[in-house]
Amino acid sequence: MVSFEALLESLQTGSGFWHPLLWGIAIVIAFFIVYILRGLGNKTYKKQTEQTKSFLSGNPEYEKEQMHVKGSNVYWGFTEVLKGVYDLLKKMHNGNASDYVMWFVVVMGVLFILVVML
């Protein structure tokens, strides 16, 4: 059977290492810190006061259901900036089965030139 010591050996990657126990301790410490920080905030938190309401530049707050940002809109800005890239990729992924085969032929041709001609 697997010995416990074998499990606990550390991994050397060259510029760093990984030890299961150290990592376990680090995670516990991180949880502890998070717990303390949460406790600090919890003291001053009072329910049902002005403090719990969100502030939207003075605009009225909508219902929670209406405020949920839908999946497609989450990275709106990112996709807007990369519009050129996306248009290109859309043209590439056109869903035509013939083109799927064409890409295979193209890659084979390029590899052929690289391997055989050079």
């Binding site: 859309k90 992924h93 869903g95 035509n96 089965a97 085969v101 032929v105």
Partner: protein, 114 residues
């Protein structure tokens, strides 16, 4: 030169098959393209096993002499069997596609894209 004709036929079959796959819009024609490539590859295998003036590799009542290699023939048979299965599957999928899309044009069968 005469011995190269089967190889030329192989190249022609594979190229015609690829042409059908790349430029034909009808799904049935694409399926035919796949089977053409398959025939080309099978012909290639069979041709590889042939030796000049050889007889079929059957011992029963054989006249003696060189026999052509049986291994490529076995490979070809396996490939044909697989080809039948693939062909049946492709054709039944085409039937289903026609039911759902009402067309066999490959450019219109693109609900899955991007």
């Amino acid at each position: 030169m005469i011995y190269n004709i089967p190889y030329l036929a192989v190249v022609a079959l594979v190229l015609i098959g690829l042409y059908a796959l790349l430029f034909k819009r009808n799904l049935i024609k694409m399926v035919i393209g796949v089977t053409l490539i398959e025939s080309g590859v099978n012909l290639f295998l069979i041709t590889l096993g042939y030796r000049e003036n050889s007889i079929a590799p059957i011992y029963t009542g054989s006249p003696g002499g060189i026999m052509s290699l049986p291994v490529p023939q076995a490979l070809t048979l396996t490939s044909i069997v697989i080809g039948v299965a693939v062909l049946a599957l492709m054709l039944s999928l085409v039937i289903h596609i026609y039911r759902h899309y009402g067309t066999l044009d490959v450019r219109k069968i693109r609900r899955l894209k991007e």
